[in-house]
């Protein structure tokens, strides 16, 4: 990582630091040739360390049979099953759910209209109908039921926590730290341990989803409470409000739209996790995707993935519309219309309980199979056209870039790598970078999966460089051009919500099983978020600043490089950081397409009982890598900023 960060930072920093970085790297490479192969801490695929064995042995010490966890599981289970009975599964001695498709569409569209506007209501109805036409009604409803259950439960936990963190500085600091960790933790890592506590099935899936989805809601609720204008709070206090009154009548209502953004992100996270949770028997679309993968059926996997994207887009647009709703509430006319609408919904529900055509989605028109065929054809076409070229690209990148980098990281003694990384962190980020880096490295050695960590690190760094380069290019383009933005954004949304499993098969077809395939998958997964952040950052550059630059006759490139990028520095730092974390969160998925190393260790620990401890340690190692890279980039960014500020004052 050192190498990459330095390359990035060098351009923007005074030359002296770049010289130090360069010297460090040269020393490292020189030392590598001398010390190659010493103390590399190799651990074979089936080998384990005492720590791993200890973890494996103690896995049964916790969970299962514990009254407390059982009670939680049963309560959650009842809740989920109830929701499933209502919208997806045959229930109460009837061959259909309590509410058939017509009723569900009516309720969903009505809610979208009541909380959002009529446009999203139309979108909701169209989206749900499309999913039904895809032949995936029941699976979609299972996914929806699970998502709704997980989101409601996460909010129940997250919003009070968020309020607490919003009101108390100390709680805020602790929460930020814990949430940072939670968000780097790869989902696979806690999926397996969770089954120990909560067994398998919908309840465990819901709980896993809840854990994954709660952080954004906590974060944004705290942020919202903190950004209420102090004058409004003072005004309330000056009139003699109690703390409770201030919270209920001022802070919470004024935080509404930001909290809704948090809820939106929670929903998105929940939806993606519900898909992954298919691995522990969560019903729904995730199952369809996983099953299709077993027979390499790209078409069916894509069809199910598309259904997830459609549901995600509907949920996203509805919550966004709900958040953007102005304070002005209903006019009398709207109230009357809402009342009429409610009646219509009741009628629809009654129909969906009475008549078969309204209860079970008609299967005459099946768009799904056609989508599947087209998707398969497209994949085959791409494979046939690009097939030869892609292997060459893979080999060139692997031999030219990845292998040397990986060789340097895995072939050097662990203490040499650690020393170089800490030194680089110190140069780039001062003690704020060096101390966390040192701690993380020591812990990495302790996990016993040092070599695998270095392999993963090499791929992660390469992937992040590509993600940042592509994200910057696309982001600047979209940030400067509205039309590009409106076209690119839905694609990015889809890229972010499409379960990564779906594009594994096409990638395997193009690149075979290799580390490169994993890098490519990670890039596809992480580019949307980086692009979005960069685009937003570029757009946030004050118009006057850009106009000033134009008025002195800057070329487009000068405006970008000398004005927009430097001013959007914060956003770009965030983009690099998020890109890194997204790439890391794909490490385990990468393990499924031949990346090996930590991703494979985690997956193996999930699947084989004797490797459980090693899998857990590997999961921890991923988190440690994440924390280390995160701290170094943050510290480096902060230092650059300080430097700039000083410069400004002078």
């Amino acid at each position: 990582m050192a190498a990459i960060t330095s390359d990035m930072e060098v351009e923007v920093r005074r030359p002296r630091r770049s010289v130090i970085v360069g010297v460090l790297l040269v020393v490292w490479v020189a030392a590598y040739f001398v010390l190659r192969g010493i103390d590399t801490l190799v651990l074979g695929g089936q080998e384990t360390t005492p720590l791993h064995r200890w973890l494996t042995e103690h896995r049964d010490g916790v969970g299962q049979g514990n009254v407390f966890f059982d009670a939680i599981r049963i309560a959650v289970d009842h809740f989920v099953v109830l929701l499933q009975n209502v919208i997806s599964q045959p229930s109460f001695d009837r061959p259909v759910p309590v509410i058939g498709w017509l009723g569900v569409v009516a309720i969903a569209a009505y809610c979208a209209w009541a909380f959002g506007n009529w446009k999203v209501a139309v979108l909701t109805a169209a989206g749900l109908a499309f999913v039904g036409l895809q032949g995936l009604w029941q699976e979609s409803m299972d996914t929806l039921a699970l998502t709704v259950a997980a989101v409601l439960l996460s909010l129940l936990v997250a919003i009070p926590l968020g309020i607490w963190a919003g009101l108390s500085d100390r709680a805020f600091r602790v929460a930020t730290l814990v949430l940072d960790l939670m968000q780097t933790l790869p989902t696979f890592v806690y999926l397996a341990p969770l089954t120990l506590f909560f067994a398998i099935g919908p309840a465990a899936a819901t709980i896993a989803t809840l854990i994954y989805a709660a952080p954004p809601a906590v974060r944004l609720t705290a942020h919202a409470i903190r950004s209420v204008p102090p004058e409004s709070v003072e005004a309330a206090r000056s009139l003699g409000s109690t703390r409770g009154q201030t919270l209920l009548k001022v802070l919470l209502p004024m935080s509404r739209s930001t909290v809704v953004v948090g809820i939106n992100q929670t929903i998105m996270a929940a939806l993606s996790m519900v898909t992954v949770a298919a691995l522990i028997d969560a019903p729904g679309l995730g199952q369809t995707v996983l099953k299709a993968l077993q027979t390499l059926d790209v078409g069916v996997a894509f069809n199910a993935g598309l259904a997830i994207v459609v549901i995600a887009i509907v949920l996203d647009r509805v919550t966004t519309a709900a958040g953007d709703r102005p304070w002005r509430t209903a006019s009398v006319r709207r109230k009357v219309l809402l009342g009429v609408g409610a009646l219509a919904v009741l009628v629809a529900i009654w129909f969906s309980r009475t008549y078969v055509w309204a209860a079970e989605f008609p299967s005459d028109v099946n768009v799904g199979s056609r989508i599947a065929v087209v998707a398969t054809d497209v994949t085959n076409w791409v494979h046939n056209v690009f097939g030869g070229f892609t292997y060459g690209l893979r080999d060139a990148v692997t031999i030219g870039l990845l292998n040397p980098l990986e060789g340097l990281l895995t072939g050097s003694p662990w203490w040499l790598v650690s020393a170089v990384v800490v030194a680089l962190a110190a140069v780039l980020g001062g003690w704020r970078g060096a101390v966390p880096a040192a701690v993380c490295l020591v812990l990495l050695v302790a996990t016993g999966v040092w070599q695998d960590s270095m392999v993963t690190l090499a791929s992660t760094l390469l992937a992040t460089v590509v993600v940042v380069a592509v994200g910057l290019a696309l982001g600047v383009w979209a940030g400067r051009n509205r039309r590009v933005d409106t076209w690119i954004r839905p694609v990015l949304d889809a890229g972010q919500t499409m379960p990564p499993f779906v594009y594994l098969v096409p990638f395997l077809a193009l690149f075979g099983t290799s580390r490169f395939t994993a890098i490519a998958a990670a890039v596809v997964f992480a580019v949307p978020v980086t692009t979005k952040i960069v685009a937003d950052g570029i757009r946030a550059v004050p118009v006057a600043t850009v106009e000033a630059a134009n008025s002195v006759g800057s070329s487009a490139w000068q405006v970008i490089s000398k004005v927009q990028l430097p001013v959007a520095r914060r956003a770009i730092t965030l983009a690099v950081n998020q890109g890194l974390i997204y790439v890391l969160s794909m490490v385990v998925v990468g393990g499924l397409v031949g990346a090996g190393a930590l991703g494979y260790d985690v997956a193996a620990g999930f699947a084989q009982s004797e490797l459980y401890g090693k899998g857990l340690a590997a999961g921890l190692a991923i988190v440690l890598l994440g924390v280390m890279l995160d701290r170094i980039t943050q510290a480096a960014a902060r230092r650059t900023q300080n430097f700039q500020n000083r410069g400004d004052k002078r």
């Binding site: 309330a236 000056s238 009139l239 102005p326 304070w327």
Partner: protein
């Protein structure tokens, strides 16, 4: 007049609100600054260098009489906004006494303080501090709502003050639908709704356009005439201070520089800082004849027109210039002095 500050008697029982030796220090271990004379004596930079503390309010004492409009003026950073927040302990003072109607405010507990804020004080904020999710009428009745009044009561009362501040017809709009001036009327109405004894204004008009600002100032003058509330008014605008204030306290770096009426500040600046501050004022609009009358020279004719000492120079100009002999300034039959063309011209031409 001398440059020395003259505080009214601290034990003045007529005062509605009495502030004595008030300090507000921000920073680590702030308590020690007012206690230790050697720290209390340090100026801003030295204090920060030595203790890491900043004194926003330094040893202030003044009384506010019932029905008075008391203006606190100073540049930004002079501590005036902190001062007004200390008065109702929105910011907890570091040291000093606050006496309101004979009650020691600093000894009041949370509950008593809330009760006082609900009925005795109200505040109007620079950026209005409105609640965007509530309609105008619900913003105005907020204070009544939290003290538990019934809905019809607070609706009625809110409607009264809305009419009073000239917001009629806008009751059911949301703040974001109103212009800045209208929003501040909502802030004003909200403050009045509680029927408080003291209204505190924290630079209420500085975020408004000049025209609107003047209109709002006139509005405050009108309100003061109609409801006769005691007002503490914070501003950085001298003309606003002169227009509204019965008395003005000029602050600098947290400390008081001069306390007096508008014409005292203009006519007898306490030091160069005040002189600089009031230099651009239309003196003719502020000064009264009292400030420019001189002793009659020997042999001057003393049969000119007579005027009172509190007549503004601007109002007297025409008369003085048209008279062919000096104008006499007479108070209760006593001749205070005379004014000729040159005295008038010195003031008027000064601008």
């Amino acid at each position: 007049m001398t440059a020395q500050l003259e505080y009214p008697d601290l034990q003045d029982s007529d005062a509605l609100l009495s502030v004595q030796g008030l300090w507000k220090v921000f920073g680590p271990k702030a308590q020690r600054v007012p206690r230790r004379p050697e720290l209390a004596a340090l100026d801003r930079t030295d204090l920060y260098a030595k203790t890491g503390c900043t004194a926003a309010v330094r040893d202030l004492s003044f009384d506010v009489a019932p029905g008075e409009v008391f203006v606190v003026m100073g540049l930004s950073g002079s501590g005036k906004s902190t001062l007004v927040r200390c008065l109702t302990r929105l910011i907890e003072p570091t040291a000093g006494r606050l006496v309101f109607e004979g009650e020691d405010l600093r000894a009041a507990d949370e509950k008593r303080l809330r009760a006082l804020r609900r009925s005795k004080f109200s505040m109007v904020f620079q950026h209005f501090g409105l609640l965007p999710h509530r309609k105008v009428i619900d913003n105005v009745s907020y204070g009544l709502e939290i003290r538990g009044e019934s809905k019809p009561d607070r609706r009625r009362r809110a409607q009264e003050v809305i009419d009073l501040v000239g917001l009629s017809g806008n009751e059911h709009l949301y703040p974001e639908q109103l212009s800045g001036g209208m929003q501040q009327r909502v802030g004003l109405a909200r403050a009045l709704a509680n029927d408080p004894d003291v209204l505190l204004f924290d630079e209420p008009f500085s975020a408004l356009d000049p025209l609107i600002r003047r209109e709002m100032q006139t509005e405050v003058v009108r309100l003061h005439r109609e409801v006769g509330k005691t007002m503490v008014f914070i501003t950085h605008d001298l003309s606003e201070a002169l227009k509204l204030g019965d008395r003005i306290l000029l602050m600098r770096d947290g400390a008081a520089v001069q306390l007096g009426t508008g014409d005292e500040l203009v006519g007898a600046p306490a030091d160069d800082y005040v002189r600089e501050f009031v230099r651009d004022v239309q003196r003719a609009d502020v000064l009264t004849l009292r400030w420019i009358a001189r002793r009659p020279r020997d042999g001057e004719p003393l049969d000119g027109p007579e005027l009172g000492p509190d007549v503004l120079v601007r109002e007297a100009t025409r008369l003085v210039l048209e008279a062919d002999r000096p104008v006499k300034v007479v108070s209760n039959g006593t001749l205070l002095g005379v004014i000729g063309d040159e005295e008038i011209l010195a003031v008027v031409a000064d601008n």
